[in-house]
Symmetry: C2
């Protein structure tokens, strides 16, 4: 990055970030009209560079892992941070899959004719410059960079400090790919400092040079975004996902789905954090579900009714209902039917994903209509809340806001649109 | 509004606005699941109430008009402010037309099946609570209230102080309609004070109780929104619209379209403000166009080349290229082909609407691809930039931002969406 490495020496964080913003805006113009073939050539070259530069990336990753270990970081965190050849192959394959997606730019979303002969088309366009603020999974550097490029956007990446060396090494590989396809290297920039002031600058929008911020993270990032963001945000924040077991639920399905929703992977935002069980089936359904979870090593934190029925359960505190554990812990509560479940979810949900297990279609309809979350699931695991599982072929995350993007954010969600109106001399009366 | 009339006496502006926000959020929940029939019943009753209460509305409007006259306000402004029976009939008819539109809520935008048997639907939902900040056209009170209701949203309206009496009288009629259909009166609230601090409170989001702000206005509102908005915004701001006459343009079409784009109505945001003419056809096209405009009473402000060719033209200053006249004035400049036109528009456009008059499809394609404005028009007037003309059956305005809504904002643009996923016990591998 040349000059940008001088942060702290010759330039303040604000100056560096302003320069990054200017460069991103300048790169966005040629990117917005780059043909699909050129973007795909860059993406394939990026994937190849990840493999070709794997020694350097793994070397950088060792520094991050060693730093995390000497800081006494949790093993689960270090596992997510650690790269090996298999994971690098996975990262490269994910970029190649994005190259294989249809280019969304120029896609005609809708077209119609007016009685006066005007033909109107709504056509996808890039958003412009996207700022992505994320935590310590180094693969996000590649995923976010590749998705933004595919949609014709410039991107400014700001990863967590724990993975800074890994992310910069991956970024260097992405830039090689861009250059070999003749695209501007500033199409994908990475913030060259771990100073948190850089996040503040991004949230202020880099002097109008960021069009939208994608924040991915937990409570502290949520609060910072709410307090400081001056540009549009596709929030990718907590996933306090609920599973509700209706009185009409089939027991076997309920057990299987809850165990999968909680335990398949506990560290993802689509993992279930709270289980609500209809009091009418407390005797038949509650204990088998909790036993299956316990057998998998899940800690149960229940309300008084749950604790009375399941000796292995701890007492839940008020804070449990609004906690995203991202761990093998589940809060559990009895409720009086679907209306009571909807009320609890309305109070505590983070508007990510909620599931109902039920055979009663009326209960499902009410659950689907009255809950205002991005994804509602009937008789399936909350862990399907994923762009790949939705068939979008890659995602930057799951948006929990209601503006523009909601749910999985893939290449289409990283676009805007414009209208193209064709006439033959029409004037308005 | 009872208590809310106590602003300034018992309650501060901030307290009143906080209460309005709480009430709007409470109203949004039942509205979001109100059936189409109930919303349409309310809309038809609102239209009837406008007519039934026309004496009171016209009486209130007289006060606004008298105040404007004694303040020496421009005649064109007073004309937009003034109501009569014909205009009230128009307002009522517009509400009835909105009742006749398809209810967007629950509309399945997309649906697909996954290989594992999951069925995924993307379904329209209300946005929640919308805040509309507008200037002094009293009909916006009715249009915005009706459109937000149709899309299942609660709305907080803040009109200009010049039309405060008219807007409150119209609002009273809307509330009668809501109540007669059994919908909460707080579904459509109007800010009961003209204190500009109320706008500041809305831009801060009323403690999380406003989901999106729709600001409609000129430069001072633009700046205020940019500095203060802490919630998502569908900006409806300036329309610095351009018409470019390519060397391939047919002369008659160019004359007709430019005259219509500028002079049909000069006070709307889709009116042309700048004309760019390809230097290659300066001799053949420029003077006939400017003569036709002059004959209609349009003032021409040209660059040096234009002034040299058309004696009637004044000299444009730098400020002219970024001025939305909303009046019978046009800035005019010669350019070197479509690339130069695109460059000028990129620098000065407010991203609203730009038109090209050309027979050369290559020039059109470049103009359409490279300009990042909400609406691009080929061989037709910029004044078609209108929800009704687009076939949307009503609009709250033209959004100039790129997030969520862009171009005409009708009922569909006032919705969000959620995903409904149907399974039969699927778990993720």
């Amino acid at each position: 990055m040349g000059m940008l490495d001088k942060v702290g020496a010759d330039m303040t964080v604000a100056q560096v970030m302003a320069e990054i913003g200017k460069r991103a805006r300048a790169a966005a113009a040629p990117l917005s009209i780059a043909p699909a073939e050129q973007k795909n050539k860059a993406l394939l070259a990026m994937a190849d560079s990840i493999i070709a530069q794997s020694a350097a990336i793994l070397e950088a990753n060792k520094i991050d892992v060693a730093n995390a270990e000497s800081a006494g970081t949790a093993a689960s965190f270090i596992d997510r941070l650690k790269l090996d050849e298999g994971r690098l192959n996975g990262i490269a394959d994910a970029i190649r899959a994005i190259a294989g997606l249809k280019d969304p730019v120029g896609d005609v979303i809708a077209a119609w004719d007016r009685p006066n002969g005007l033909n109107i088309e709504r056509v996808r366009t890039p958003l412009g410059v996207i700022g992505v603020i994320y935590e310590s999974r180094p693969n996000v550097t590649a995923d976010a960079g590749a998705l933004c490029l595919k949609a014709g956007n410039a991107v400014v990446l700001r990863g967590g400090s724990d993975s800074a060396h890994s992310s910069r090494a991956i970024h260097a590989a992405l830039v090689s790919g861009l250059e070999s396809a003749g695209l501007p290297r500033d199409a994908i920039q990475i913030v060259p400092t771990t100073d948190r002031a850089a996040v503040g600058e991004m949230l202020k929008g880099l002097n109008g040079n960021i069009d939208v911020i994608v924040p991915r993270g937990g409570k502290s990032l949520v609060e910072r975004v709410q307090n400081e963001a001056r540009v549009p945000v596709f929030a990718h924040l907590e996933g306090i996902c609920h599973v509700y077991i209706d009185a009409s639920a089939e027991l076997d399905m309920a057990v299987n789905v809850v165990v999968n929703a909680k335990m398949r992977r506990t560290g993802i935002c689509g993992a279930a954090e709270t289980l609500l069980v209809d009091r009418k089936v407390a005797d038949s359904h509650l204990v088998p579900i909790l036993e299956a979870l316990s057998a998998k090593g899940c800690e149960i934190r229940g309300d008084a009714d749950v604790v009375a029925r399941f000796a292995n359960a701890k007492s839940a505190s008020d804070a449990d209902w609004s906690t995203e554990y991202l761990d093998a812990i589940l809060s559990v509560k009895l409720v009086d039917g679907v209306g009571d479940a909807i009320g609890h979810i309305g109070q505590y949900s983070s508007h990510h994903t909620e599931a109902i297990i039920a055979q009663d279609e009326k209960a499902v309809e009410r659950f689907f209509n009255e809950i205002d979350s991005a994804i509602l699931v009937h008789n399936a695991s909350t862990q399907f809340a994923d762009g790949g599982e939705f068939g979008m072929g890659g995602e930057i995350g799951i948006a929990t806001g209601k503006m523009h993007a909601r749910g999985p954010v893939g290449v289409e969600q990283l676009t805007s649109f414009k209208y193209r109106v064709h006439g033959n001399g029409q004037t308005r009366a």
